[in-house]
């Protein structure tokens, strides 16, 4: 099958929907500002009663980590639900059939849409980062090498996150609904990836447990590289682990796509 050159433009669907809905963009901006202000206040407050360094992180490192975690959540938090464009809604309304009636495989279409979503989210995160950097809320990376390792690690982390989200969406082909799984995933993702708090603050057994799960590869690794909690010299194995998760999840989701295509649940006679 020859590839259609312009098909990549499907990546613009969600961002275009957002741009056409200014209230949603305002909501995102307000939410980002409030969350950032609160986490800065929270972490500065926490460090006021402790020493200058806790769990190997200084106050500046901790605040930088927490603010970057808030910004990073924008990468995959677009409002597809309002646009009736989640996989669960497509299953519910029966419109998932159209995914199988186009000369682009559902797997590729899903990937392109996710790419568009993540790039759009990245624009928000980058804008937020620039503002936070300008006002001194976050520190710049220690070196160009650290910045490069962070960028690569963030890319791999988002890739892992994409596959995790895809797996949850693929669940719909069997269960029709994935809201419960999605709630569990969001909690697990936020807790185990270090959105709520850097994993360095958790007990050893928790850190060990999370090492066997893909979540810490999504955010904890890149942010730890950024703030210097993982030194540049030690970043290699972590990046390799992230890459390993990407390969493993790619294989699993590909197999699941194959099975899902045989299970397109049709409504009506």
């Amino acid at each position: 099958m020859t590839a259609v050159p312009g098909v990549w433009r499907t990546a613009r669907i969600t961002p275009l929907g957002e741009l056409l809905t200014p209230p949603r963009m305002t909501g995102v901006a307000v939410q980002l500002v409030i969350q950032t202000v609160l986490v800065v206040a929270l972490w500065r407050g926490l460090y006021a009663d402790t020493g200058p360094t806790t769990a190997g992180l200084s106050r500046e490192q901790a605040v930088t980590y927490a603010v970057l975690a808030v910004l990073a959540t924008r990468l995959r938090e677009l409002d597809r639900y309002a646009g009736r464009d989640t996989v669960m809604q497509h299953m519910h309304f029966g419109t998932i059939v159209y995914w199988f009636l186009r000369p682009v495989s559902p797997r590729r279409y899903y990937a392109l849409r996710a790419l568009g979503d993540q790039l759009y989210g990245l624009a928000w995160a980058a804008a937020g980062y620039a503002v936070c950097l300008a006002v001194g809320v976050v520190q710049p990376p220690h070196s160009a090498g650290a910045a490069g390792a962070f960028a690569l690690s963030l890319l791999l982390g988002q890739w892992v996150l994409y596959y995790i989200m895809l797996l949850i969406d693929q669940l719909c082909f069997w269960t029709l609904r994935n809201s419960a799984a999605m709630l569990i995933l969001i909690f697990a993702q936020n807790l185990l990836s270090g959105v709520y708090a850097p994993l360095w603050y958790f007990p050893d057994w928790f850190v060990t447990l999370s090492a066997f799960l893909p979540f810490q590869a999504t955010l904890n690794v890149p942010l730890s590289v950024y703030v210097g909690r993982i030194p540049l010299a030690d970043a290699g194995p972590q990046l390799a682990l992230q890459a390993g998760w990407v390969v493993l999840l790619a294989v699993v989701t590909r197999l699941v796509w194959h099975r899902a295509a045989l299970r397109v649940v049709s409504q009506g006679g």
């Binding site: 259609v4 098909v7 646009g83 419109t95 009636l101 000369p103 682009v104 049709s266 006679g269």
Partner: protein, 353 residues
């Protein structure tokens, strides 16, 4: 994709069968718990041994009551579902084996399920589909102009899909399904819930696509006006089985060629007797009601002619079963036929065991 290179858009279906294997819950709380541990599997045959074909440039109505297997058949023809048995070919492609190649040859509209993107203006959805199908820009624009002429899309295509009325949205969906110029189109109850004006517009559009553009259309609908306006040939299925494949006239003859001729005779005392294939059903003074008799009854127009030629009438009126009545009779007749078949096979099965 268009012009001389367009492949022939025929549909071939042979002995098509689809069975679904699903779990069912046992009754009661204990049964539900038991079903969780040890699920009870049931096999349901949605389509069984269905054979038909649609010639290029033909519009075929696939009819049947709810749950007859129409949508399942369409989903197998579009490649969404894989048949359990039988063969399907759409424009020379086996749909479920070559989904992506098949996708270029077909367009589909499934009732009120839109393929447009809810948050975007309809025209943006068209542009995205242009990109997905790789339609050249000039071709895309020309086709949009053509569809706009027929469906008056431009008055609302810059509106976001979520704000469109049902009629507007379905018109956009029809355009979206045909933007890549497919030779074969599947329409699963496309006009459901639409008002009569929009329905008529859509019918005109479909007629144009078949007669002027030569597209092959497979249509399912419960709207008999639509059937009588658009389809010359009808395939009737019930309980997943093909009941009849023929013209509308043949279906009418088989299931509902009923009519009444009500005549008022000029001479109230005139003697009245049956005519060939025509019975006298009722007589009250000068008013006589004639109806069909036997298997060789004439059509209503032939009967009218015979009555006028034989008797001097001062007034005459016709009552003919409409297509709704015919289809009701057909569905009921088909259900009876299906149950007869089941009974026969049960008897055979019993005798053989």
């Amino acid at each position: 994709m268009s012009g001389d290179t367009r492949i022939t858009g025929d549909i071939q279906v042979r002995a098509l069968t689809k069975t679904f294997r699903t779990t069912t819950r046992r009754p009661g709380a204990l049964g539900t718990l038991r079903s969780l541990v040890n699920p009870l599997w049931v096999t349901k045959t949605a389509v069984e041994d269905v054979t038909f074909s649609v010639a290029p440039g033909e519009l075929l109505a696939l009819l049947g009551p709810n749950g007859a297997g129409k949508s399942t058949t369409i989903k197998m023809l579009t490649g969404i579902l894989v048949p359990t048995a039988g063969e399907v070919s759409v424009a020379g492609v086996v749909p479920y084996r070559e989904r992506e190649r098949n996708a270029r040859n077909i367009g589909a509209v499934f009732g009120q399920r839109t393929q447009l993107w809810w948050d975007l203006p309809a025209r943006e959805s068209f542009a995205i589909l242009r990109d997905i199908y790789g339609v050249p820009d000039a071709e895309h624009k020309a086709r949009l102009r053509e569809f706009d002429d027929l469906l008056e899309l431009s008055s609302f295509w810059d509106t976001r899909v979520r704000h469109l009325s049902l009629g507007q949205r379905v018109r956009c969906d029809l355009a979206a399904a045909l933007l890549h110029d497919p030779p074969v189109v599947f329409l699963d109850e496309p006009t459901i819930g639409m008002d009569v004006v929009v329905k008529e517009q859509v019918r005109g559009f479909l007629k144009h696509q078949v007669e002027e553009r030569g597209r092959t259309v497979l249509l399912t609908t419960h709207d008999m006006t639509e059937v009588s306006r658009l389809a010359e040939r009808v395939v009737l299925i019930n309980d997943g089985r093909l009941v009849m494949d023929g013209t509308l006239e043949e279906i009418k003859r088989k299931f509902g060629d009923t009519w009444l001729v009500r005549a008022t005779l000029a001479d109230p005392e005139a003697a009245v007797s049956a005519l060939p294939g025509i019975a006298v059903l009722q007589r009250e003074g000068p008013r006589v009601v004639f109806g069909p008799e036997g298997s060789h009854a004439p059509t209503v127009h032939q009967a009218l002619k015979q009555v006028i030629e034989r008797y001097e009438v001062s007034d005459i009126a016709l009552e003919e079963a409409d297509l709704e009545d015919v289809m009701r009779a057909a569905y009921q007749g088909a259900a009876l036929e299906a149950s007869d078949v089941l009974e026969e096979s049960a008897v055979r099965g019993g005798a053989g065991s």
